[in-house]
Amino acid sequence: MKKEQLLDLYYQMVLIRRVEERGAELYQAGKIGGFMHLYIGQEAVSTGLIAAREPRDRVITAYRDHGVALNCGIAANEVMAELLGKSTGMSKGKGGSMHMASTEKNMWGGHAIVGGHLPVAAGLALGDQYAKNDNITICMFGDGATNIGYFHEALNLAKTWGLRVLWVCENNQYGMGTAVERASAVPEIRQKAEGYGMKNGQVDGMDVVKVYEAASEAMNFIRKEGQPYFLEIDTYRFRGHSMGDPERYRKAEEVKKWQENDPIGIFNKYLLDKKVTTRKALDEIETRVEEEVAKAVEFAESSPEPTMEDLYADIYADN
């Protein structure tokens, strides 16, 4: 990767972190409601992955979607506005934290039914196969989602039909309060892909460069072979499952140990050690992000609420 691209990845990761930190404050202040799942700790995963796509490649994910939305190029203004339920959000305030999408940015949504979007991802790829192009669909999901039937049906279909899907399991070690080994018959999630004869790999999700490299390799394979690929990415969420999680299921020491592996810290050190850039340049990125996030909050707070007419809009495409 070139210097500009590396610095852009750093910018994106810091942007996700700050948007979510502000989001958490706004949630505590009662300005955001519903369920909000923070991506803090996992920023390197979607940042590295999505950096490896071409704009024509599609992305679809679960409800932990703020980072993915930002990485896909949806403006912080829109993300913040959606969190606040404003009409200027990309889902017009109707979706909220869990439902961010932008067809223009080829981001096909955060989805709140666990595993529900996996067959849909196969369908996105089916549509592309039918159109005879070689677009790839990147489908992200959690470790917990690999235990539901949807996952297995989708993987089987993708392999059987040669669909261009990059299946990405973000293994953050828990589905809500359930540790992987308490819910999954096999400890390594990628073993499930083996069962479907699907090419697969595993990578450290705290290192954005490694994620980028693994994703690039996987996407080359998918594009060329017309076959799906399964990538397991090991990571950790630093915060609770969603806002208000009592976190009785894991020990503070464990969380602390992972937090010492902060993906932004690791990347910061990498950029300095490899002399890609200077501390000053990284500080400037921080400042730029702070300003952007402050503006996004201002934009969201001053945006209009959706109207009663909006309540009835978009139920159907035809009237």
Binding site: G85, M98, M176, E305
Partner: protein, 324 residues
């Protein structure tokens, strides 16, 4: 009488029945170590251990399917769906298996199974996580559907459900766990399939259940200030439906509204109104009004969501309308 919350009432019912019958066990997502997503089974894991409080993978089909199988061989599982919205991920097991296995095999199987599920909107959870699809489930013969509106009923009905030999969907409301109410001291059961007068009145009949009861009671207080006395009938069980108290009340008041949180079309109200027209047509003095959710998937935005959900003022307006 002791005043306890809905959460405590449900929790007590579960614990009493688990203590009473070793065949009773709980199976579902986050019921154990987490203590239940709505903290209903808090402390259960420590008390009963992992054999009786079974944390499952995220696998709704397997949860309901396995509960059905265990019930068929004589256990009494209580399967918890984290929310009723995930019942759609287990629909085949609820509809094609639980509701039919006994009948289809000439009564050979018994399915002493309870499915607890939390439903309801009002928490800004968006379209897929806020539904009140109770009526759909009440559509299927072979399944019983219970949905209490007070702590007393919740406790008594859940205990009966656990002792019942049939598959029962027990629907709770996500915004009602803190609702307080009097509960009798000591053991008691409330029979499934019995509606109840929750408030006596003479001017009109309000037929409702679950969240609708909470709203209707508030509306009735407001109406009383204007000299209007509403009689409130709480269905408590949607299938089998007990029309007795409904018809008795209606024959007295001749005017009624039905209040439910789910969508109006093909809803609980549609059934109740039809039954009144079929069974008490001569007593009808005014068209019966249904108060229900607007015909939209629930939006995240708080103002829009509240506008789509039935409110106390909608009930007051409807009551005045039928009294015109």
């Amino acid at each position: 009488m002791a005043k306890i919350t809905m959460r405590e009432a449900i929790s007590q019912a579960l614990m009493e029945e688990m203590d009473r019958d070793p065949a009773v066990f709980i199976i579902g997502e986050e019921v154990g170590v987490w203590g239940g997503t709505y903290a209903v089974t808090k402390g259960f894991y420590d008390k009963y251990g992992s054999d009786r409080i079974k944390d499952t993978p995220i696998a709704e089909n397997a949860i309901i399917g396995a509960a059905i199988g265990a019930a068929m061989v004589g256990q009494r599982p209580i399967a918890e769906l984290m929310t009723i919205n995930f019942a759609f991920s287990a629909m085949d097991y609820i509809v094609n298996q639980a509701a039919k296995l006994r009948y289809m095999f000439g009564g050979q199987f018994m399915l002493p199974l309870v499915i607890r599920a939390v439903g309801g909107g009002g928490r800004q959870l968006g379209a897929t996580h806020s539904q009140t699809p109770d009526a759909i489930f009440a559509h299927f013969p072979g399944l019983k559907v219970v949905s209490p509106g007070t702590p007393e009923d919740a406790k008594g009905l859940l205990k009966s459900a656990i002792r019942s030999n049939d598959p029962i969907l027990f629907i709770e409301h996500a915004t009602m766990y803190q609702v307080r109410g009097d509960v009798p001291e000591g053991e008691y059961l409330i029979p499934i399939g019995k509606s109840k007068v929750q408030r006596p009145g003479k001017d009109l009949t309000i037929i409702t259940y679950c969240k609708g009861l909470e709203l209707s009671m508030k509306a009735a207080e407001e109406l009383a200030k204007e000299g209007i006395e509403a009689e409130i009938i709480d269905l408590r069980t949607l299938r089998p439906l007990d029309m007795g108290p409904v018809l008795e009340s209606f024959k007295k008041t001749n005017r009624a509204i039905v209040v439910e949180e789910g969508w109006k079309s093909y809803g609980v109200g549609s059934e109740i109104v039809s039954r009144i027209y079929e069974e008490a047509f001569d007593y009808v003095d005014a068209p019966i009004i249904r108060v229900a959710q607007k015909e939209v998937p629930l939006p995240y935005n708080r103002t829009l969501e509240q506008a789509a959900l039935p409110q106390v003022h909608d009930i007051i307006d409807a009551a005045k309308e039928v009294l015109k």
